[in-house]
Amino acid sequence: MNGLHDLGGKDGLGAVDPPPEEPVWKAEWEKHAHAMFPLAFRAGFFGVDSFRYGMEQIEPVEYLTSTYYEHWVHSVTHHGVLKGHLDPDEIEKRTQYYLENPDAPLPEGQDPDGALVQFIEAVIPAGATAARPGDKAPRFAVGDRVTVVNDAPRGHTRKASYVRGKTGVIIMAHGEMIYPDTAGNELGEAPEHVYTVQFTNAELWGEESAEPNGTVTFDVWEPYIVPAQVQEHAA
């Protein structure tokens, strides 16, 4: 989707302003919001691609003005409701209750065997790779000049606007991985070959605006690219 999350190359978004130090979590609730991601994943709310798509559908002004963990909570809610794990009226009712009773305790846990703690301890070191080694022959190879297809899919995609229609060179090939354009839209994993494409700054931004002596790499899935259509701008 052509959403506001697609921020690469947008101007006017202000200063980065990194602080010298900051805690891992700014507030207690962020720990809980973070833990919802692996635990809701375990419960079948979403895969990582759907999880991202849930965040991309946040109302644009809210997307830009709310924090990262608020985005997470939004996506957990979105998918929890969609899959029938969470009732929206119940969420509102309880939100009101905890607003009026901020010190009210959470209910008693229902995990006598500690399976959820064990899951956390297992999933963090193991992860869940998106690699899906298969026997599909790659259509492209390192060194190939390719152009990113210039279309604008409606649903979830990782084909950022700033690389659409741009031409670069494949510098790495990574084998088959889950395809976000299906997985993020609840259409299955449908693995595709992934390549890293390197673009010159001039190709992306034009000679006038481009910083000198610079390149950007962007990972693409095979359906995102075609053999080079145009002569790219030199660095």
């Binding site: 978004l13 200063a15 891992v24 507030a27 009773n101 901020p102 995990d111 956390i120 910083e211």
Partner: protein
């Protein structure tokens, strides 16, 4: 129970709403057996004390002192890190990119906030916010200079890695001058989180 004397600091209405909403969702998930506060605490403990940039620093320092390991790291970062017991969630398929005299790397995720958790821990807030995500692909030299006080010479290529897939890139910075004969343990102290993102240099040899 009564909430007339909350011990929490006074927060904005919006913040109070967020806190209440998270608690509301968590309470439902707890009742369904999908979440416990013990699981939350364990996760928090892991990312506060166990998984963070100190792990990436160990990997970098080893690469600086062990050429065979460095070759393995650049060949397949996930396999090399696994040898050291480092890896997992959001770093299942990592790629370490090496800075040289002619090339400086920096990482970003323009579409969300992808970041190599197993070696760097959780991302700093600025990495997740619109300014960094939008500007780093368009004017990296300017961002590095103005926002991070990090000057890259015009003769050095700046290569920005936009983490758009599940590959997780991170930077193997150059070993600081004046550290000949230093052990990996001594070098670890010079490796900063920012140097592995590419927005800063490692600390200088004191």
């Amino acid at each position: 129970m009564s909430a007339s004397h909350s011990t929490a600091p006074v927060a904005s209405d919006h913040q109070a709403e967020v806190v209440a909403r998270v608690k509301a969702i968590e309470s439902i998930m707890i009742e369904k057996g999908l979440m416990t506060t013990e699981a939350v605490d364990r996760l928090a403990e892991i990312y506060e004390n166990e998984v963070g940039p100190q792990l990436g620093a160990k990997v970098v320092a080893r690469a600086w002192t062990d050429p065979e390991f460095k070759a393995k790291l650049l060949e397949n970062a996930s396999t090399a890190c696994a040898e050291m017991g480092i890896g997992g969630l959001q770093g299942e398929d990592m790629v370490a990119v090496e800075d040289t005299d002619d090339l400086h790397h920096v990482i970003v995720c323009t579409l969300c906030s992808c970041y190599p958790w197993p070696v760097l821990g959780l991302p700093p807030n600025w990495y997740k916010q619109p300014a960094y995500r939008s500007r780093m692909v368009r004017e990296p030299r300017k961002v590095l200079r103005e926002e991070f006080g990090y000057d890259v010479a015009d003769s050095v290529e700046v290569r920005v890695w936009d983490s758009s897939s599940e590959l997780r890139y991170w930077v193997l910075p150059q070993r600081p001058e004046g550290t000949d004969g230093w052990s990996a343990e001594q070098l670890e102290a010079l490796v900063t989180r920012d140097s592995m993102i590419g927005v800063g240099a490692p600390k200088a040899a004191a």
